[in-house]
Amino acid sequence: GAGVSQSPSNKVTEKGKDVELRCDPISGHTALYWYRQSLGQGLEFLIYFQGNSAPDKSGLPSDRFSAERTGGSVSTLTIQRTQQEDSAVYLCASNSQGETQYFGPGTRLLVL
């Protein structure tokens, strides 16, 4: 069956520009997570959605980062005024309550 998909696969942008990253979770999965993986680092939690609500935004690094989820499905992570330190792989995962998380392939963001 279809897994978690993310787009774009790769994104190169200039410092100061805004970017939008998209995640399509597995159909029927109620929970959705965004993580960030910097070079040589583990996965850093960013935000969690249950349905369209985000009860835990504690991992967002600054107010330049925001995310939304609509229809209990697709989620978009937006980074405004990108900085070079935002360069990383952004991973999305989804699950249903009590199940393990399934990850997408990630979006590789490079800020020049």
């Binding site: 929970a31 583990g42 392939p105």
Partner: protein, 113 residues
């Protein structure tokens, strides 16, 4: 101190070797422990999942959890070149955001023929 510590390696072994990967953690509330495998330019995929202390075996892979020592391990027997990947430990507790995972940095493993 990070909540989950993992030696990033890299670790290089010959085919057929037994590989031991480890993580330590500081939060005694963690109850669920996972190992993910991540191939280059791919997302992590779940390899092993255990609850509380004990051992779990799946083919060539064995996961061990020692909650008293806050220490988890993954053993790979008869390692193969196809096992070359980054291995990430992850864990969570029911008390935190449901299912929010805390990851180690990952250990990069190379198995050479």
């Amino acid at each position: 101190q990070k909540e989950v510590e993992q030696d990033p390696g890299p670790l290089s072994v010959p085919e057929g070797a037994i590989v031991s990967l480890n993580c330590t953690y500081s939060n005694s509330a963690f109850q669920y422990f996972m190992w993910y495998r991540q191939y280059s330019r791919k997302g992590p995929e779940l390899l092993m999942y255990t609850y509380s202390s004990g051992n779990k075996e799946d083919g060539r892979f064995t996961a061990q959890v020692d909650k008293s020592s806050k220490y988890i391990s993954l053993f790979i027997r008869d390692s193969q070149p196809s096992d070359s990947a980054t291995y990430l430990c992850a864990m969570y507790s029911r008390g935190s955001t449901l299912g929010r995972l805390y990851f180690g940095r990952g250990t990069q493993l190379t198995v050479w023929p």
